[in-house]
């Protein structure tokens, strides 16, 4: 039996009560996944990422949502938000908080929407993330039974972030989950959406999430993906964005956790004035492996994209960055900038980076850059000449290196959390966490 077939066996057991349209989707996803199988490193898109740890794993499906209250409080973001919480992929009504939703916003768990709301969900789900995109989107399509359906009607400005917290539990039997997120942002809407992955230490589950975001004319969406899962967790995600005229999509992709994390981020800029900003960070250590694949399709003239990914790699970790900018024929007067900068803190860490440009229009301003190197020695000297010792100077500059991305983050609670995590991960004696706190205190005073 192939790994794909073995995975699909789990599908048969519990799907008896699916509505027929859902059953048909599952079937299509399963068939496609079986045909494709898990990707191998011979596949250019997976050249640097080996998914055997997933393919060879044995993952059950979770059936309850019990979660320790104290660790829930420790893991969640301290933020005033409309909150949906999932435990190993299953919706937890008790941990969620959707009481104060303003009019014009609808947020519901996928399980409910699939049963109650066929017309609305059925037409949109899978429109951007088809089963052909990758074996993992096909697998997700086969299994997805939970997630979040978020709809904003035209003109709605959501006051508070919509916060999706995906928790992963440690247990004797690893589980898999295939969450699905769908965001339909009507014309001139504004919202902030957070996908936060966290969990108990030692959790070794497999999460395979697919997110689709559709922005109508003039919509502005800030999308955060904060990956803080246990260093044993496996995570594959794809985020698909479709942008209408004058819409803005800002992605903040922060990677701190996970043993194996692969994220695909794809944006289609389909009408003039559409603009996408990708801000990414990966800070990895131990034997973590983080792979970010991004793609911006400039399908229409006068569209803009700006991407900045920063990686810091320690120990024996491995980072992969593959950023592609595609400019369609006749998509004139576009601007696309892409940058990936990496810092290797250890000789056994490795980074594989490939910034690509594929351009079929001539009146364009496109540039990309990738740098991997060390800290600026003049800056090290300047700090040392103020009495700061060399390791501390390097720690400060490492924090500064990620700061460029952090400065773009508009939600302070996330910026501070990431900055503290980074500061805290540098060797303890540097005590940067204390510096960060002092600076925050002074700012607030």
């Amino acid at each position: 039996m192939s790994a794909a077939e073995r995975f699909l066996q789990r599908l048969t057991a519990r799907r008896a009560d699916d509505p027929s349209w859902v059953a048909a989707r599952r079937q299509a996803g399963a068939a496609r996944f079986e045909a494709m199988g898990f990707p191998t490193r011979r596949d250019e898109h997976w050249k640097y990422t080996d998914v055997r740890r997933i393919a060879e794993g044995d993952f059950a499906l979770a059936s309850d949502v019990a979660f320790d209250a104290a660790s829930f409080d420790a893991l969640r973001l301290e933020i005033d938000a409309h909150r949906l919480v999932f435990v190993d992929g299953q919706f937890s009504a008790t941990l969620s908080d959707l009481d104060a939703l303003p009019t014009g916003v609808s947020v519901e768990p996928l399980s409910q929407a699939m049963v109650a709301n066929h017309e609305a969900v059925g037409g949109s789900l899978g429109r951007l993330a088809g089963v052909d995109f990758s074996p993992f989107t096909a697998l997700n399509t086969a299994f997805a039974d939970e997630g979040a359906i978020i709809r904003l009607s035209a003109g709605t400005v959501v006051d508070k972030p919509i916060y999706l917290l995906m928790l992963s539990r440690a247990g004797s039997q690893p589980v898999m989950s295939h969450p699905r997120v769908l965001v339909e942002a009507g014309a001139r809407t504004e919202a902030t959406i957070i996908e936060h992955y966290a969990g108990e230490p030692e959790a070794a589950n497999f999460t395979n999430v697919v997110t689709e975001v559709m922005l109508d004319r003039g919509a502005i969406i800030d999308h955060y993906k904060l990956q803080e899962a246990a260093l044993t967790d496996l995570h594959v995600a794809s985020i698909h964005v479709d942008q209408g005229r004058d819409s803005h999509f800002n992605s903040y992709n922060m990677n701190l956790g996970g043993a194996l994390v692969r994220t695909d981020l794809v944006t289609d800029l389909n009408a003039e004035g559409a603009e996408a900003a990708y801000n990414g960070l990966f800070f990895v250590q131990g034997r973590q492996h983080v792979d970010n694949h991004t793609l911006v399709n400039h399908n229409a003239p006068r569209t803009f994209s700006n991407e900045n990914y920063k990686g810091v790699l320690d120990d024996r970790s491995r980072g992969v960055f593959n950023g592609k900018v595609f400019v369609k024929k006749d998509a004139q007067q576009i601007e696309a900038y892409q940058n990936n900068a990496n810092l290797l803190l250890s000789d056994r860490a490795e980074i594989d980076t490939k910034p690509e440009l594929v351009i079929y229009a001539d009146d364009v301003k496109c540039s990309h850059g990738a740098t991997t190197g060390q800290l600026d020695e003049d800056a090290v000297y300047a700090l040392r000449s103020r009495g700061i010792d060399e390791p501390m100077a390097r720690a400060l500059l490492t924090l500064a290196f990620v700061g460029e991305v952090m400065d773009k983050v508009r939600l302070n609670v996330i910026a501070e959390r990431v900055e503290r995590a980074v500061a805290g991960r540098l060797p303890e004696r540097f005590n940067l966490a204390d510096l960060v706190e002092t600076a925050e205190a002074i700012q607030e005073a």
Binding site: E350, E356, V364, G369, A370
Partner: protein, 480 residues
């Protein structure tokens, strides 16, 4: 394969009859062991060479054509190609310039090729078109004095078998890739250069002067070895478009630089790109690789690629020696329906190795081109540095320019920088030139030449001048 078995094989093939054909100048189309044995026999090669070719052939049989490049072309029928044909007899060649394609002559005119050289380039059967005998003679004497060996690869296999055997295939192994394997099995022509220890080659070596074969071989094999502290500058090709009936070219070039040696390899490639619809052009699938084997050695590739319907070419450097240096300077110009997928690989293995990549791509008409590069820093390459700059210029809205730089970095003390831009010729630049009375086409070529300056200045002097002229010819008709 044991040599006994080899002998048997060769004998068996003889039985099948090609031995009676040995006097013929051509083999029928198709490729099998007997074709290879025929070639080897014809060239008077020692047995180890045939064995080597056959090893390559068996590997090739197991391989498939690479499909990762950003290129589109119909499948090649390798059994439809004739793998050996001696140079044409004078009576089969055009008897005078009147019989030559006027378009070709027009290009020579524009490039300023001296009249007496035009005939030679066009393959006209006129003896002593220019005084090649005296040129080559003085040339050879000078090299001989310096101890430099410069001859065809076939001659080298016969005359210097030990040297060839020591280095052939050590940079590009027989089974390196599909086209290299094919080349290893059937190569029939190419150059061999050996510069002994401490010698600086007294002149620039050029295939242009190695007049012994007017036709460029379809499967060229070039091997250049620079011993310790030796230096050589080698020029491949010439700037005039060559008449050539071979559709497929699969050359292999191997460079070996020992301690403190320096090899500079410059190419101007201007083969027939095909007509406006891309019909009939050359497919150019080349494997070029330099091995900086010794400490502080240096290999520099400079290329100007304007010809061929399809170019698939990645001159590379293996930086093994400590503090060795690899360089790649490239201008690729495509127009019409041309496709080019070119770039380089810099493999940093030794400590403190350095590499520089400057690639300039100009796409016009309906052409498509890609820069594809790999910078790999091995775990032991402490302090390695790479700087890559690759810029594309698009002329017109029917063409495409793409950049695929791979970086694999496994050492924390390495510094790797990559910058790339894609743009068009700015309207205000054009306006500025035209407001000074320069017509649009001249303005474009001025601006494009400026864009390529970083690379042109790496070319040997006379090449640089010709390269500029060539660029203008290639871009003709791309504006307006």
């Amino acid at each position: 394969m044991a040599s006994e078995e080899m002998e048997q094989l060769v004998r068996r093939e003889y039985k099948q009859g090609f031995v009676t054909d040995i006097e013929s100048d051509t083999v029928p189309p198709g490729l099998d062991e007997s074709t290879i044995a025929f070639i080897s026999q014809k060239k008077g090669e020692p047995e180890w060479m045939l064995e080597w070719r056959l090893e390559a052939y068996y590997q090739w049989l197991k391989m498939t054509t690479p499909s990762w490049a950003h290129l589109e072309y119909p499948p090649i029928d390798y059994q439809a190609i004739s793998y050996f044909s001696a140079p044409k007899k004078p009576e089969d060649r055009p008897q005078s310039l009147d019989e030559v394609d006027p378009k070709l002559l027009e290009t020579y005119e524009k490039l300023g090729i001296p009249l007496h050289e035009r005939a030679a380039l066009a393959g006209v059967a006129v003896d002593a078109v220019f005084d090649s005998v005296s040129v080559t003679t003085t040339f050879k004497e000078k090299l001989h004095e310096a101890g430099v060996i410069f001859c065809s690869i076939s001659e080298a296999i016969r005359e210097y078998p030990e040297l060839v055997r020591q280095y052939l295939g050590t940079v590009v192994p027989q089974a390196d890739n599909y086209f290299a394997a094919l080349n290893s099995a059937v190569f029939t022509d190419g150059s061999f250069v050996y510069v002994p220890e401490g010698v600086k080659c007294p002149m620039e070596l050029s295939t242009y002067f190695r007049i012994n074969a007017a036709n460029t071989g379809q499967f060229e094999r070039t091997l250049i070895v620079c011993d310790k502290r030796a230096q050589v500058s080698y020029l491949e090709g010439c700037t005039a478009p060559q008449r050539d009936e071979n559709q497929l070219h699969a050359a292999v070039v191997e460079l070996v630089a020992l301690e403190d040696a320096y090899i500079k390899y410059s190419t101007v490639q201007n083969w027939y790109p095909g007509d406006e619809n891309g019909k009939g052009g050359i497919y150019n699938f080349v494997t070029k690789r330099g091995d900086c084997r010794g400490d502080r050695s240096r290999i520099s590739w400079t290329q100007v690629e304007t010809g061929s319907a399809i170019t698939w070419k990645y001159p590379s450097c293996m930086l093994r020696g400590k503090e060795s240096v690899g360089e790649f300077y490239s201008v690729a110009v495509t127009n019409g329906r041309q496709q080019a997928d070119t770039g380089t690989k810099m493999i940093h293995i030794g400590e403190n190795t350095r590499s520089t990549i400057v690639a300039k791509g100009i796409a016009a008409g309906r052409s498509d081109q890609a820069y594809r590069g790999l910078v790999k820093i091995g775990p032991r390459a402490k302090g390695a540095r790479n700087y890559t700059q690759c810029d594309s210029l698009l002329i017109g809205d029917q063409c495409g320019a793409h950049t695929f730089p791979y970086q694999e970095i496994g050492n924390s003390t390495a510094t790797v920088e990559h910058e790339a831009t894609t743009s068009k010729i700015a309207d205000d630049q054009l306006f500025y030139c035209r407001a000074r009375g320069i017509d649009e086409e001249d303005a474009v070529s001025m601006i494009v030449n400026g864009f390529c300056k970083d690379v042109f200045q790496e070319l040997p002097m006379e090449f640089a001048v010709e390269a500029e002229a060539l660029l203008n010819v290639t871009l003709e008709g791309s504006v307006g």
